[in-house]
């Protein structure tokens, strides 16, 4: 297993441990009085499940830590160099991912505030243009056409609500 995979597992293990612990605390705080019945206590299933998840997250963390220690012993482990870190943080893929997430967030935030067809046309055109800088006219035509089509099919033909 590579160092980056071990790092990923460690981060995932810790994140899951935190989430499971929060659920566990929530389950413990749920009322246990007679109104809810001794065995039908609402927190009993979340308690059991979160305990199970805490145990599994701990196994994942300890397993990863053990592997890291073994790898350190086996090879002369050195932390990733600054250039490696920089590559990871500024990789094109990461940049693209952030751009997509930001665009999607912006689209969702503006939903309901701007007319669906206008907002969706702009969203589709901009996002497509950022990643495919060719055939601008086709991109614009496709974006507007698709937005109108979605609006009419969902809202006018099938009478479904549209944000």
């Amino acid at each position: 297993m590579t160092t980056s995979n071990l790092k990923k597992d460690l981060i995932a293990g810790v994140a899951i441990l935190i989430v499971a612990s929060l659920f566990l605390i929530g389950a413990l705080l749920m009322p246990k009085d007679n109104i809810y019945g001794l065995y039908a206590y609402p927190g009993i299933t979340p308690l059991a499940l979160s305990l199970g998840l805490v145990v599994m997250a701990l196994v994942l963390i300890f397993r990863t830590v053990n592997k890291t220690v073994l790898e350190k012993k086996a090879t002369d482990f050195s932390p990733p160099s600054q250039s490696e870190e920089k590559n990871f943080l500024t990789s094109v893929e990461l940049k693209r991912l952030v751009v997509v997430i930001l665009f999607c967030l912006g689209y969702l935030l503006l939903l309901g505030k701007i007319h669906f067809v206008v907002l969706t046309s702009i969203f589709l055109a901009l996002l497509s243009f950022i990643f495919y800088r060719k055939q601008v006219l086709i991109i614009i035509a496709t974006s507007v056409g698709t937005s109108i089509l979605i609006y009419y099919v969902f809202n006018r033909i099938f009478l479904l609500p549209i944000p």
């Binding site: 990923k8 597992d9 981060i11 995932a12 899951i16 989430v19 499971a20 659920f23 929530g26 749920m30 009322p31 109104i35 001794l38 065995y39 039908a40 206590y41 609402p42 927190g43 009993i44 299933t45 979340p46 499940l49 979160s50 199970g52 998840l53 599994m56 997250a57 196994v59 994942l60 397993r63 094109v92 893929e93 693209r96 991912l97 997509v100 997430i101 999607c104 967030l105 689209y107 969702l108 939903l111 309901g112 969706t120 969203f123 589709l124 996002l127 497509s128 950022i130 990643f131 495919y132 496709t142 937005s147 979605i150 969902f154 099938f158 009478l159 479904l160 609500p161 549209i162 944000p163």
Partner: protein
């Protein structure tokens, strides 16, 4: 009598243009969705669930089944021509489909895949007619104890099979799904759990936004962050073999792949990709020419394509009889059945005795439509692969948003979809499989209600969880599934000698 009803229903469906036309459109849509890398059968079924929300129940369910069958089949087109499986279910198809295409036998590979998918689907339909009523009768013996174990067993086996390299990650994903499903008013006392006073959370987290999010958004993010675009080469070659002879030569392979895949489909949450791989592996072991596998073997292609489509039928069986999905697209189908007021589960054969046969009939008609469309229009349809991903994926995101919103008209659900999409993306990055997470999310409420009901019935005693016969079997199966991944039994013979 029941078989007669099934055949009559198939005939009626073919003669009913008002039903047949939407089914044809849905099959077409399914093939397109399956063909486009990045769009999966789950997404296709989920998007159509929103669109068909206002349709009559039978039309909506028939369309969803058609899109499901079509998508699993459609993925074979790109698997053969581009070496990119259109859906995960077609990954095994690439092994022999692409070498066949590369050697100038693309036309043969495409047609064999179509025919074998059709035969696989028919095996699935036959199994729905024959096995579903049997499983339904067995499910009537299930009490709260058994349903509790079924949820745990489902998540465990799904986690094990979908994360074969590291089952722990599969189980973590499953338990996370079970835990998140506990949000909202509890089923017995209506106590608000993990709602933080937010009224929107009182009804719990809806299933469809989670499904669309976990399966759709990560695919969109992954496709758009990718810097390299796949090369599209559409060359077919000429047909030189007899398809009847191919079927005859592969008869054992077809029957074995079909039946094994149906059984894999019945296992909760596992799905078509695992079925295709198992069928492929069994075909290679049973072949007289195992060395040809991976080099363009029609046997391998047959096993993979027959297997993944037969699994669709298998995955629908537990949906109908236990309300437990056999695969991710079947999970959306289950949600759609609930949305349309159908109550799948052990009581379905009693409350709605003809429904299972109607579903099998829809499945059969959908299969015929799939084969006809596959043979007639797939080639011109392949031009759709020329649409660049950066143009296609934003459109898919808008459809995810609209489809999620259409169900209940709440922007909250759209945000849930996006949140779970991002969570799903990071789960995928960490190699945590999505299937057990979704299965856990679906089975969570069932597990909770049944665990607590069991404890109330027995005044807190956990004995019946381990002493009732079916409970004991499910418990032992769960332990066995978990232990089998970590306990290495000595295998005599050569290994010891080494």
């Amino acid at each position: 009598m029941n078989l007669l009803y099934y055949f009559t229903t198939v005939g009626e469906m073919f003669l009913d243009p008002i039903l047949l036309l939407p089914m044809l459109l849905a099959t077409f849509l399914g093939i397109v969705v399956g063909m486009l890398p990045g769009l999966t059968a789950t997404m296709g079924v989920a998007l159509l669930t929103g669109l068909t929300f206002g349709f009559p129940t039978s039309t909506a369910i028939a369309m969803l089944i058609c899109v499901y069958i079509g998508a699993i089949y459609g993925g074979s087109r790109t698997a053969i021509l581009l070496n990119i499986p259109g859906t995960p279910a077609n990954a095994a198809t690439t092994l022999d489909g692409f070498p066949l295409a590369r050697s100038g036998q693309a036309a043969e590979a495409l047609t064999v895949a179509t025919v074998m998918s059709g035969i696989g689907s028919i095996i699935g339909a036959i199994c729905i007619v024959t096995l579903a009523p049997l499983l339904g009768q067995m499910a009537l013996e299930f009490g709260s104890w058994e349903f509790s174990w079924l949820a745990i067993f489902g998540v465990t086996i799904c986690g094990t099979l979908t994360a074969p390299k590291d089952p722990l990650k599969g189980w973590i994903a499953g338990f996370l799904g079970l835990l998140i499903s506990q949000v909202g008013l509890d089923a017995i006392m209506a106590f608000p759990r993990y709602t933080f006073g937010n009224v929107e959370l009182y009804g719990g987290i809806a299933l469809l936004p989670v499904l669309v999010g976990v399966y759709g958004v990560p695919e969109i993010l992954t496709s758009l962050q990718r810097t390299e675009a796949p090369q599209v080469i559409l060359e077919y070659g000429k047909k030189t073999i007899s398809y009847i002879a191919t079927i005859g030569k592969n008869l054992v392979n077809i029957i074995r792949s079909g039946l094994v895949s149906v059984l894999v489909g019945v296992i909760p949450g596992v799905g078509e990709d695992v079925a295709a791989w198992i069928s492929y592996d069994l075909a290679r072991r049973g072949s007289k020419e195992p060395e040809k596998f991976g080099q363009g073997s029609l046997e391998g292609l047959t096993a993979a394509e027959c297997g993944n489509n037969a699994c669709v039928g298998g995955a629908i069986i537990p949906v109908l009889t236990l309300a437990v999905p056999g695969s991710a697209p079947a999970a959306v189908l289950l949600a759609a059945l609930w949305l349309h007021g159908v109550r799948p589960g052990p009581l379905l054969p009693i409350e709605n005795p003809t429904f299972i046969y109607e579903v099998a009939a829809m499945f059969t008609v959908g299969t015929v439509l799939m084969v006809v469309l596959g043979l007639l229009i797939t080639r011109p349809l392949l031009k759709i692969l020329l649409i660049p991903t950066p143009i296609l994926m934003p459109i898919v995101f808008s459809l995810c948003v609209v489809g999620t919103y259409a169900i209940s008209g709440r922007l909250f659900d759209v945000w849930v979809m996006f949140l779970f999409g991002v969570v799903g993306y990071f789960l995928r990055l960490g190699e945590f499989p999505a299937a057990p997470f979704v299965l856990g999310f679906i089975l969570g409420p069932m597990a909770d209600a049944n665990i607590r009901r069991s404890l109330i019935l027995t005044d807190g005693s956990i004995g019946p969880f381990f002493t009732r016969p079916i409970s004991l079997v499910l418990f032992l199966a769960t332990v066995l599934v978990m232990a089998s991944r970590y306990i290495k039994l000595p295998r005599g013979g050569k290994k010891h000698e080494q």
